[in-house]
């Protein structure tokens, strides 16, 4: 296989990895801090894509400007929705059976899907790629889509931001403390409830960014929520539940593994990510960067 082909395949693998990381990061952050398996995470992703579709459609004058604006507006809107979800529903379930959180967010997935169907209907929508990001750049004799480069750049930016937030700020310190020992953190004067609301909203915003960024390269329709969730979960499990760097590594592993599958065993390619997950779990049951579950 020639160098240019390898470059193209690695590039497409990284594009997939970027999309997956953006969704998985929020999922793993919420699980890490709050121990909630948020099934409704895919809904935030889908709703953001719908919001971008509506905004770019209704303000067609200068699609590029509108696109940039909606890239900001959509994640904020789903962030607010995430905040409301935490305050109105999830807050009541802390300290109770973990299954309740799972079922509640599962119910929310259906609720949000129903709402999306009422508001946006059953039609497919498609967001045009903004002018500034159309076309290709040429390198090693191959064409690389500018929009895919943009997706990769956004994923890297979000990854760096999360690293900075969690490692270098007060909020990050508190989130990490909440993961380790929420009781002591509460005793030391931190409002853990508000912290959880913030973390959940941040997770929703991340799903929102993913939905908004992916919008122009996929068809937007109800059903997007559940589809993305499965792959994001696999990424999170591979990376280790609760670990943001793990999600990044998991996404790259899946992206490249899927690409390898597509080249070497096309008939089984769609099963490759499951194979990757099983392999990782056999070798490291807690995921690549996962910590073993605290007992008691």
């Amino acid at each position: 296989m020639s160098l240019d082909t390898v470059a193209t395949l690695v590039f497409s693998g990284l594009t997939s990895a970027s999309l997956l990381f953006l969704v998985a990061a929020g999922l793993t952050l919420i699980f890490g801090a709050m121990h909630i398996v948020n099934i409704a995470h895919g809904s935030f992703y889908m709703l953001a894509a719908f919001v971008v579709a509506s905004l770019t459609q209704s303000m067609a004058a200068d699609s590029t400007a509108v696109f940039w604006l909606s890239l900001l507006v959509a994640p904020i809107l789903v962030g607010v929705l995430g905040m409301l979800t935490e305050v109105l529903v999830l807050r009541r379930l802390y300290g109770r059976e973990p299954l309740l959180g799972l079922l509640a967010t599962f119910g929310l997935l259906y609720l949000f899907e129903g709402i999306a169907l009422i508001v946006w209907g059953g039609q497919y929508r498609s967001i045009p790629i903004p002018h500034a990001l159309q076309g290709h750049v040429q390198a090693v004799g191959e064409a690389f889509s500018i929009y895919n480069l943009f997706v990769i750049a956004i994923a890297i930016a979000v990854g760096l931001f999360l690293w900075w937030l969690l490692q270098r700020t007060q909020l990050g310190w508190r989130v990490r403390a909440a993961v380790e020992d929420p009781e002591t953190l509460a005793a030391s004067g931190t409002n853990v409830r508000r912290l959880f609301t913030a973390v959940f909203a941040l997770g929703a915003v991340l799903a929102g960014i993913a939905g908004a960024v992916t919008g122009p390269i996929e068809s937007i329709t109800t059903g997007l929520d559940a589809q993305i969730l499965v792959e994001a979960f696999i990424v999170v499990v591979i990376g280790g539940l609760g670990s943001v760097p793990g999600a990044a590594i998991g996404a790259v592993v899946i992206g490249l593994f899927e690409t390898a599958g597509v080249i070497w065993a096309p008939s089984f390619a769609s099963a490759f990510i499951y194979v990757a997950m099983i392999l990782v779990l056999i070798i490291r049951p807690s995921g690549l960067l996962g910590v073993t579950e605290r007992v008691g």
Binding site: G122, N148, P216, T222, I263
Partner: protein, 415 residues
């Protein structure tokens, strides 16, 4: 006011109830006749179900406006089949038992269609498949009550092969790549397409095949793998939302500039893609695009549809419309709404007049002898429809693309 003795109350109620049953209820029921349609109204293929429901409703509106059928007004009852065979079966059973539906219009998914065909046969009510098109619906699941007005999963790929075979010879193409969703439809479509090419005398070199999951959101690796092989031709059996995602990502990678692609660019996908649909790509349609049928009837239908739903009728609406028309002609011919009489009237292969054109129902498998339409996506976005349209439309004749009656009867349950 003094209360009536309890016995009198009971007697009066019973009498009134009896009277209502004897005269009132049947008199009311006689005004309208119900047709049931259980299809996908939510979920990933809802747009197909909703569009065919809208088409069926338009046909019924038209019949009612013209004075009804055998003097009765028709009512369309709908229910969401949710892509689940058992939900479809329950819906159909309710239509028949609770609503006394006299005909069923089919679902989107063939798995549901095959299940519903069983219930239709059980209750002796005719069922009309207008979207689901698995060859088994008129094969393994065949009964005298099953009718299909949409080209089958055998006819479609063979029509495409027939069209493409010419191009292969003309351009001396050799290499071909296929990509299709990883389930029965994708695999059988690719298999039949390749078999069709062989039948049509084309020797191709299949340089690669990809089978992404149905509903995948990411096709970038698949597209890269295709481009790495630089095939002369790509057969993409993706459709609906998957096709939109595939198209957007393939466009980004420059696939359409490098190779000739064939895919199911049906009107709903074209609407969503707008200008991003790839000009020059080869496409097919299960019904003639409405703007190519220059009849007064089609014109009236298209205008009325547009006035009611603010969009132009596409494949599914036209097929839904013609399914109801098929049933209505069966009723007229039988002079009755009775399921068995209607099935018998349609079963001997009559000519049916529909908005998409006239066709014969084949007696051996109750499949409409209809063409599959092939063409290329227009160079320019059509100003009136705000999207690219199918241009240079060619109808692939049914006799060249249908499975023979002998082969079909071999699939059918033996009586």
């Amino acid at each position: 006011m003094t209360a009536l003795p309890i016995k009198t109350q009971v007697a009066a109620t019973a009498l009134l109830g009896g009277l209502a049953l004897a005269f009132g209820a049947p008199a009311l029921a006689a005004e309208t006749v119900n047709v049931g349609m259980s299809t996908s109204l939510t979920g990933p293929v809802a747009q197909l179900g909703i569009a065919s429901k809208d088409g069926a409703q338009m046909a019924i509106d038209r019949i009612n406006k013209d004075g009804g059928l055998l003097g009765k007004q028709i009512k369309l009852l709908t229910a969401d089949g949710q892509l689940k065979p058992n939900t479809g079966v329950t819906n159909v059973r309710n239509f028949v038992l609770a609503d006394h539906a006299v005909a069923i219009v089919g679902p989107v998914s063939s798995a549901v269609g095959i299940a519903e065909a069983g219930v239709a046969a059980q209750y002796q009510v005719p069922i009309f498949f207008n979207t689901s098109n698995d060859v088994d619906q008129t094969g393994k699941a065949f009964s005298k009550y099953a009718f299909q007005v949409v080209p089958s999963t055998y006819m479609e790929p063979h029509a495409m092969a027939l069209y493409v075979a010419k191009l292969f010879k003309q351009h001396h193409w050799k290499t071909l790549y296929t990509i299709a969703p990883n389930y029965a439809f994708g695999h059988s479509t690719v298999e039949q397409f390749l078999a069709g090419l062989k039948q049509d005398g084309v020797d191709v070199d299949v340089v690669g095949q990809q089978w992404p999951q149905l509903g995948a959101s990411d096709y970038t690796q698949y597209i890269s793998a295709i481009m790495a092989k630089s095939p002369d031709f790509v057969f993409a059996a993706e459709y609906g939302g998957d096709l939109i995602t595939f198209t957007k990502q393939a466009e980004g990678a420059g696939l359409f500039k490098k190779t000739q692609v064939l895919a199911d660019y049906w009107p709903l996908a074209l609407e969503a893609l707008g200008a991003s649909a790839p000009a020059g790509a080869i496409t097919d349609d299960r019904a003639p695009p409405f703007y190519t049928v220059k009849t007064k009837e089609m014109d009236q239908f298209a205008q009325a549809f547009h006035a009611k739903y603010q969009r132009w009728p596409g494949t599914w609406a036209i097929l839904g419309y013609s399914a109801v028309q098929t049933w209505a002609q069966g009723v007229q011919k039988a002079g009755s709404f009775d399921g068995t009489k209607v099935a018998d009237a349609l079963g001997d292969g009559p000519m049916i007049k529909t908005v998409r054109g006239d066709f014969k129902l084949r007696a051996c498998d109750h499949l409409a002898e209809i063409p599959v339409y092939m063409g290329v996506l227009s160079k320019d976005v059509d100003a009136k429809y705000g999207r690219r349209v199918m241009a240079d439309v060619v109808a692939q004749p049914s006799d060249k693309i249908m499975l023979s009656c002998t082969a079909k009867q071999a699939m059918q349950p033996q009586a």
